[in-house]
Every structure is written in C-alpha cells, then in structure tokens.
C-alpha cells in the first residue's frame, strides 16, 4: 500500500549566520562556521534537507578551572594551564569552534584587565585557525570593559561575543557593530523574552544575521524539558514566519551538565548511579543529544569524548 507522507511546508526560514573570517575575508581563520538556514524542523531530509549541519564547540577557560569536575580536569590534563594549548588540544579532539570564557580574576588573584583579556584572545587566535567565541566572566561592567577591548583588538575576525542579556547588552552589541563581530543573546527558557531581546538588539541597528539565540537550557534532570520546549516553540515560530525568532540557536550543555551532582560527585552517592566518569560523560552527551533533537545549531561542550560522540550523532542524523 503506497503511503502518502504528509510534508510540512513553511513560509519562514532560519537565518544563515557565519562565524569567523578567513584572510580573504579580513580575518585569520583557516575556516569559518556557518549555521542556520533551516526551512523545516531538523533532519527531515524528505521534506527540506538542512543546508548546514549543527556545529560542536569546545569551551575553554583563560585559567585552569579548579571548580570543574575532576573528570574534566583528568580528561584535558596540563593543557588547561594555557588557553593556547587548550585550544590546540580541543581542535585536535574535533571541536569545530572554540568558546573562550574569560576569567574575572587573573592567576595572581588580581582582577582581570582588558590587556590580559586581549593577550589571551590573541594567544588563542594564534594557536588555532578555528572560529572563536569570547564570553565575558558574567559580571556586567567587567564583561563590557573586557569585551570592548577584545572586540577592538580582533577587528575583522568575526568573533562571537557574549553573553548579551536583557539587563546588559548595549555595550556588547555596540562594540560588535563597530568591529564586525557577532553576538550571542541569552534569555531564560522563555519564547517571549527571547523575541524581546532580539527586538532590542535589532532596534540598535544591529543586523540579525549576526545574532545567535541562547535560550538557556537546564541539564538532564535539572529542567532540560523547559529549554527543550522553548527551543521547539522558537523554531516553529521561526518557520511560521516570525522574523524575531529566526536566529540559529546556541546551547551550553557542557556548562549545565558538569555542574550537576551526578557529574561532579563520585563519593557518597547511591551505588545505583553507576560508574562516576561514565555517568558524568553521559550526563553531558545525553543533554546535548536531546538539545540536538530540539533544534540546537551550536553545542558548547566540555569533555573531549562528548565532542566525538555528539559529532558522530550529527553525522548520522544528517545522513538520512
């Protein structure tokens, strides 16, 4: 019996966003990363093949993050002491872009300065040809000071700057505008708030094809379903033609999964939780795959093995 497959057709599409710039384009990257462009819900090739596959990013820090799970510290080892080396190792592990999260204080315990931040960014840009995202330490004033300096020093590289939130976005957007960079706009698992922030950024005259949405998601077991559904709703709105939801989405399963007890703690936990290091890894991978299914375009991961497994899943999803 020939079955007639119902195909969805949508009036809208997700914008196409490109990060990084090669020498021909004014930067120094050996390759760029392009995401978005979807005309359908993900991986439904019978309907509308996805023009760009999702991309896996590795999160690295300026300083060895002593508060990270022991499992991550063991996985990366000594490269964590030097962001340039760490970036190289992440590239070797298969990362397709690097997310450098700047620290609030330096190794000496003194507060971060724009000069130090710029030096770290330049070191990473020299060490790897992958496109780069630079996120501030998460304190409004400091984020702004550091990111403005970084943006000016790396003009032409088409960095992704973050994190823009409704309570602090103007300075970051302004410097991205002036220096040819992109921004990541984060909102707390809410479709309307995501739209609102895009509107605010667009009202500044910033082109929306240089904006990524970060809808925030919890980890598996810690609220993932809220992010999962916010993402599906945002993507459906985009396909229905809502211009303020048509950005590709960036998610941070590394950050979310590795702060859970399941990933951080190996002792004094129920025996039924199983092997600690495999459990920690599973927490990140399973969170990431669930988000792939809910339309993630860029996934920021921490464990080298997660990078491998998630890339493998993406390959298999794209080959329908």
């Amino acid at each position: 019996m020939p079955v007639e497959i119902p195909k969805d057709t949508w009036p809208g599409a997700v914008r196409t966003v490109t990060l990084g710039a090669t020498p021909a384009e004014g930067g120094t990257r050996t390759r760029t990363v392009t995401v978005g462009g979807e005309k359908s819900m993900p991986y439904l090739s019978f309907e509308n093949p996805m023009p760009n596959k999702p991309v896996v990013a590795a999160e690295i820090r300026e300083l060895r993050p002593e508060d990270w799970s022991k499992i991550l510290l063991e996985a990366w080892g000594s490269v964590m002491d030097d962001p340039a080396q760490w970036a190289k190792a992440a590239e070797a592990a298969g990362a397709e872009m690097i997310v450098l999260a700047l620290s609030a204080t330096g190794k000496d315990g003194k507060p971060a300065t724009p000069e130090k931040a710029v030096a770290s960014v330049k070191a990473v840009l020299s060490a790897t040809g992958l496109p780069l995202a630079v996120f501030g330490p998460g304190q409004a004033e400091l984020d702004n000071t550091l990111l403005v300096a970084v943006a000016e020093a790396s003009k032409g590289e088409r960095l992704l700057l973050g994190i823009c939130e409704d309570k602090n976005y103007r300075t970051i957007v302004a410097t991205a505008m002036a220096n040819g960079h992109l921004v990541s706009a984060r909102t707390p698992m809410d479709v309307n708030l995501a739209k609102q922030l895009n509107i605010l950024i667009s009202d500044m005259g910033f082109p929306l094809d240089r904006v990524l949405m970060d809808p925030t998601t919890g980890a598996l077991g810690y609220g993932i379903e809220y992010g999962f559904s916010a993402m599906e709703r945002l993507r459906l709105a985009a396909l229905q033609g809502d211009a303020m939801t048509q950005q590709p989405m960036l998610v941070t399963p590394g950050f979310e999964a590795w702060k859970t007890k399941e990933a951080k703690v190996g002792e004094g936990v129920p025996e039924t939780w199983g092997d600690w290091s495999r459990r920690g890894l599973n927490w990140e991978v399973l969170t990431a795959i669930a988000l792939l299914e809910s339309c993630a375009d860029i996934l920021v991961l921490r464990h080298p093995e997660s990078i491998r497994q998630v890339k493998q899943a993406i390959l298999e999803l794209m080959a329908a």
Binding site: P188, E232, G274
Partner: protein, 439 residues
Amino acid sequence: MALSGIQIYKLLPHTNCKECGFPTCLAFAMKLAAKQVELSACPYVTPESKAQLAESAAPPIRLVSLKADGHEAKAGNEVVLYRHEKTFYNRPGLFVKVSDSLEIEALKSQVSLANAFAVNYVGIELSLDGFAVESTSSDPLKFAAAVQAIRQVTKLPLILINRTPGVLAEGLKHLAGENPLLYAADSANWEAMADLAKTSSASLVVAASSLDELADLTEKIKARDVENLVLHPEAKTLGQELVLNTQIRRLAVKKNFRPLGFPTLAFPKTPSAAVQAITKYAGFIVLDQFTPELVYPLLVLRQNIYTDPQKPIQVQPGLYEINTPRPEDPVLVTTNFSITYFSVANEVEGSGLPAWLLVTDAEGMSVLTAWAAGKFDAERIAKSVRSFNVAEKVSRKRLVIPGHVAVLSGELEEELPGWEIRVGPREAVDIPAFMKMAL
C-alpha cells in the same frame, strides 16, 4: 481526529424517529460530536455505520499494554508531535535485552541485577519496565528454558524475540495468563505470527524497512483479528530512524491514518539513539545491555520529557526539617519547584548537617526563573517567614538565601527587621561546604 456533526449525520438513518430523545437525526449527530450522548441511544444505526463511528472515535495511536503479574508497560494514546502542544502521555517502556545463549545461572544473575535497579529522582522511584529475551540459538527448548529461568527472578513484562513462531510458542508456554509482546511479524512469517499472537493474547510487533510495507502488513494482520500491534520501522541510521518515526507519528495524529496508528519500538545501539527514542516518539525501547550509568540518566530524561508542561512538579510550601534541627540550627530558603527543593534537601540531608528548610511558594518555579518572573522576591520570602512562624521555631533570627538572589538581601532586611540575611551559594552542591565554613 473525531468526526464532525455533519460527518456523523451522514452515517445515521435520517428517519428523524425521535426515539433517541432528540427531534432530528442532525440534532442527535451534533450531540454525539460533542460527546454529550452515546451512539447506543439510536436503535436504528446500521452495523456498518457503527463500525465507522467506532473507528473514528478511537485514538489515533492505539494503546498497547504489556501485562504480567501486577506490572504493566503501556504505550500509545499520543495526540501530538510536540510536547508543548499538549503533553506526551505514556512514558515509553525501557527494557533490557538478554539472550538465550547465556548459561542459565548467568542469565538469572544478570536479570536479577537489572530487576532490582531503582533510583530516586525528585521523590519518584524510577526503575526498568521489563526484559526482552532473544533467541539467538533458535532452539525452542533452549528458549523456553531461558524464559522460564527469567520468570523465576523477575515479575516484569517480557518481550520475546525471534522470527520463527514455533520458537516463541515454546517460550510462551511459561507465560500463561500474561500479555507479553512478540517480536516480530514480517513479510515472510506474518500469518503464523498473527495466529500465535491471537491464541496467546500477546501483542505483536510488525517489522519492515518501509512504511508501505508496514502499512500493508498491519492491514493483513488486523484482518486476522489481531489489533494490539507495535511497529518497528527498521532504519539503518539515526537520521532514517528519526524520519520514519516522525512520519508515522504525523500520519497518525494529523491524518488519522489507521494502518500506522500504533506505538513504535526501538533498539537503540548507542546512547544517542536511546535519547532520540525517548524524545522522538518511541513507545517501547530495548537496550542491548544494562549499565546503571546509562539507564539512570535515560530514566530521568524520560521522566522530564513526559512531564505535563502544564503541571510543573511542585512541593508543598512550608518549613521542612532536615536531620532533626534544633532551634539554633540554620534556616535555608528555597522555592517549591520540585527539582530545586530536592537538589537542596538532598545536599543538606546527605551532609548530615541539621537545618530548617523554608520552602517558599514560587508557583513551582526554580530560583532564577521565579525571581525573573517576580514570583520570588523579598516580599514573598518575608511572607513565608511570617506565615510559617519561623521566628517561633528558631532561636537565631538568621536566613540564608540562595546565591542567585543575592540582590534581595537589602530589601529582605527591610521586610524582616531584626533578621540577619546571609547569602548562600548559587549551586546546591556547594551548600554543605558553605554550612560548615560560613555559618
């Protein structure tokens, strides 16, 4: 997709006899469409019309239930493609596969271990739903011995796996009175498999690599009076599996396409495939092996995705006691979202340190979300302190608020004169260290 009043009217006798209690057949049809009356009120509706009306009233995806001695694993009755449209209703059953090629004692010990597995997640106990027994030997007696042995160590529902009906029949002899699942009917064996399912009250998986073939087989099998079917679209890649499962779900809920209106089964070979099965539509999921560090997160994910989005899990607001606190022990504040409450409570409990936990009504939202939404602020916390008489229970007027709402301390001091406000860590996992060193 229910029929409209007009569509129902077309199937009625059109005599306006009034014996149903309504003035016209059309009036009766409208009431029936609104489910305000039963079809049985009409004495003259034809058997053909009755059958058609029953068909359309049936849910788009049949509910298939596996039963064994008080345990049930069911799937089906889904109505949406996206959980936010309404909810996903029936959590997919999670099964672990074992083979009859294993030596009996090893088989029993593997199954016992998995059978005993239970984890607590936000106050809910999660465990496996059953086992799948595969006959790799294709020896009926060996298979039967394996099934019998497994039944000695677990009461959970079983899925029996082999393409030869005779092999499964032998295994079924040890499952009298149960409703297991047989895997699988295909284009070669469907007649004998259908008959076996019928005589043994078992549900039946139909396996094929294309939707055309699946639809063809289910129609043939339904004609033999076997209706409790489960589909296995045999995909080669993760991508193809997603496509086939999405197409089946779409055909069922959007087109009410009966030949594929059944729950699906998945055999995920990787953790990624297992995640996809849970998030994208599988009704029964069979894992190749039991590994707690994978089963635990999968059970949690299943719980998360299948939670009704309209009803976030909440706990009752109040002043909770952890590790028998005395009046001089600290008071910690948190919200009544289940995950938040259990994260905090578990940390404190696990540390052995006594504390009072003031759970504030934040409409079931987490600390950050509630604060952003204006549902967790100084006023609400102060109100909580007063309504639960915290001042009477403790000797030291000091509150520890979550690190994420540090900004509230000033305001809270104003709302609660005489109270010292301390700012705790942002993450629950850091609470014990904080309590030891900072309080």
